[in-house]
């Protein structure tokens, strides 16, 4: 690995994971040590039973049906983006360990084809969603509401997705090559396999990882803490 690869795809990955995990834990701890609102802030109607309230909390957080009614376009973009991001995350787990049962069903070629289609679709959906958000925030009537943080996050996401799509559609390397790199990361001896070192694709990977590292490091200090905070705030809506 050259110094840039080592920085982005080696040591940077560890730093990003430590900051992300520690930062999110710190944020959750910070919230938990702040006293709850003493007054009741629920919205009505709300379910009367505990399980009912929990069910509504899940629906509100994962589907936000009332938001869909008033702003369908952005909510469709948000839902598709989050689902695609989840699919991409699950797909990346293949680099940690091959999805053996799926390979047994689909075969090696079938698995690669499935990964190519699903990963490609996820990458395109995320790209379209990020571009939509960027356009909405830049040219929408409420652009004055936006702050530099909003653009930084979108820029990082755009970088991640563009480079990820490049790896998916242009890179020409198969999962096994990345699995070797991931194995080195998990052994705390980060190194690129020869196939990656000798390919120009490694530059795309390095830039992909640079954006990923920066995104993960910034995440706990950004509005993206809604990933955990939304559960708490939506619980207030149906609370006692």
């Amino acid at each position: 690995m050259d110094w840039f690869s080592y920085l982005t795809s080696g040591i940077g990955v560890y730093v990003a994971l430590v900051v992300f995990t520690g930062g999110m834990a710190w944020r959750a701890w910070q919230w938990s040590r702040t006293p709850k609102s003493p007054v009741r802030l629920a919205l009505y109607p709300k379910p009367k039973t505990g399980p009912g309230r929990f069910g509504k909390l899940l629906v509100d957080t994962f589907a936000a049906p009332q938001s869909f009614k008033i702003a369908p376009a952005i909510m469709v973009a948000a839902l598709l983006f989050h689902l695609a991001a989840l699919a991409a995350f699950v797909g990346h787990l293949r680099l940690v360990h091959e999805f053996t049962p799926l390979v047994a069903v689909l075969g090696v070629d079938g698995m690669n084809t499935f990964a190519a289609w699903s990963g490609g679709a996820a990458g395109i959906i995320m790209l379209v969603a990020v571009l939509y958000w960027l356009g909405r925030r830049t040219f929408g009537a409420y652009k004055n509401l936006s702050v530099p943080e909003d653009y930084l996050l979108l820029a990082l996401l755009l970088g991640i997705v563009l480079m990820g799509d490049h790896l998916r559609f242009v890179g020409g390397l198969h999962a096994a090559t990345y699995q070797a790199w991931f194995a080195s990361l998990m052994a705390f001896r980060p190194a690129f396999p020869a196939e990656l070192t000798s390919s120009v694709t490694r530059y795309a990977l390095d830039w992909h990882m640079l954006f990923v590292d920066a995104f993960l490091i910034y995440f706990p200090f950004s509005k993206l803490t809604h990933a955990i905070g939304a559960f708490a705030t939506n619980a207030v809506r149906t609370g006692e």
Partner: protein
């Protein structure tokens, strides 16, 4: 701004900080989904009335003084020290907010902009920028409580005048008990006989054990944005209820007064009250269903519609009782669309009807409510909130709607057999 003023503002924000507020400050995505939920933004398209912007103004101070990230990279978060420009915008966007929480309903994270603006009001007060009119009205209520030896006789004589008026209207004796030890109900009305007379007739018909509070339900300390004053104002009738040993406090048709008494007071007082709090419409609905009062099912022959006040509907959960009452007395009752939790705010809440400087935005923001009322075709509107009534009466004049707007209990009193 002077350092002492800023310290005072930051101190208030620190004192009002709780988990929910911190999360609201931290997680808003500024997606602006709330823009189509707010009657003021929909009517004006003015950024300062966008709910997320109202919150963002307080967030700028929060970021600057309560987050390391905001202190380290203020430009990234637009964290800023408060200055006169910020305070001007904060004042306008905050005191204009009616606290209807329709934006909260539609927000994917349920961010409570109404709660955020209540904290912003505290920050404004600390900076000497609280609304003067609301502050004076709150102080007047407290002055009355502090000088009851002067006011007591005047109040009781006023109630005697109401009894005389009522007896003339009904042609029979009616009692309005005051200071009745051991009564079941302490009824807390508004200033003026309109909220006393129909309730007295209904309580009388039901044979209820009740007594009338010497204090009005309205709470300008709540509108002003000072929870300490709001508590002191509510203390007046809550202490009266304790002294008289009543079983329940019944709040008249006043949205915010019900929410203060039912949702906030125990938390402010840090004690469990020895009585329950109910809205008068809950009590009347129960009287009808239990057969304690008999109403004429065709008592209100005219086509009538109903307005859901935000503070008892979306924020209080009272949706069905008033509708059940209306169905019991008015065969031609028609609901507005949308209604219940998605109904539009009339534009008159949060104390805005008392602040002349917001008259323009207040009247413009009632446009959605006007459309809703027109669509029903009704000329009679049942409205269980004083601020909503004042607003809709003015909207009716401006838009030539020719509406008669009355409390629900007045219609019930009319329909009593």
């Amino acid at each position: 701004m002077e350092k002492q003023t800023i310290d005072s503002m930051v101190g208030v924000l620190d004192a009002r900080m709780n988990r929910q507020l911190k999360q609201y400050m931290d997680i808003c995505a500024r997606c602006a989904i709330c823009k189509d939920a707010c009657h003021q933004y929909v009517a004006t398209q003015d950024m300062k009335y966008l709910p997320a912007r109202r919150a963002e103004l307080l967030r700028q101070i929060y970021r600057r003084y309560f987050t390391k990230a905001g202190q380290f990279l203020p430009a990234l978060y637009e964290a800023r020290e408060p200055d006169e420009n910020l305070m001007d915008e904060l004042y306008e966007s905050t005191y204009a907010c009616t606290g209807c929480r329709r934006c909260t309903y539609y927000c994917p994270f349920s961010i409570d902009t109404g709660w955020i603006t209540s904290v912003s009001k505290g920050v404004l007060i600390a900076a000497g920028r609280g609304n003067e009119m609301l502050g004076q009205l709150a102080d007047a209520a407290l002055f009355k409580a502090d000088n009851m030896d002067v006011f007591d006789e005047i109040i009781v004589n006023g109630f005697k005048d109401v009894v005389r008026e009522l007896e003339e209207e009904l042609g029979r004796p009616v009692a309005i008990p005051v200071d009745k030890q051991g009564a079941d109900i302490l009824y807390v009305a508004l200033a003026g006989s309109h909220s006393i007379k129909p309730a007295a007739v209904i309580f009388d018909a039901a044979g209820a054990s009740w007594t009338l509070s010497k204090f009005e339900a309205a709470n300008y300390g709540f509108f002003f944005g000072d929870p300490a004053k709001a508590k002191l104002i509510a203390d007046r009738f809550m202490n009266e209820a304790k002294r008289l040993g009543v079983k329940e406090v019944v709040i008249t048709e006043c949205g915010h007064a019900y929410r203060v008494a039912e949702m906030f007071y125990e938390a402010w007082a840090k004690e469990k009250m020895p009585f329950k709090v109910r809205h008068i419409l809950e009590v009347i609905d129960e009287y009808i269903k239990d057969g304690r009062i008999t109403v004429d099912p065709k008592g209100i022959a005219e086509k009538v519609t109903y307005h859901d006040p935000c503070q008892i509907g979306r924020n209080g959960g009272i949706y069905e009782q008033p509708r059940d009452i209306m169905h019991a007395i008015a065969p031609d009752f028609v609901d507005m669309t949308p209604n219940r939790e998605t109904q539009w705010c009339c534009g008159g809440g949060g104390g805005i009807v008392a602040m002349e400087e917001f008259n323009d935005v207040r009247l413009k923001s009632g446009g959605k409510k006007v459309e809703q009322i027109k669509a029903t075709g009704a000329k009679l509107l049942a409205c269980p909130c004083e601020n909503c009534r004042l607003q809709i009466e003015e909207l009716s004049k401006v838009h030539d709607l020719g509406l008669r707007i009355v409390p629900v209990m007045e219609l019930v009193a009319e329909a009593l057999r």
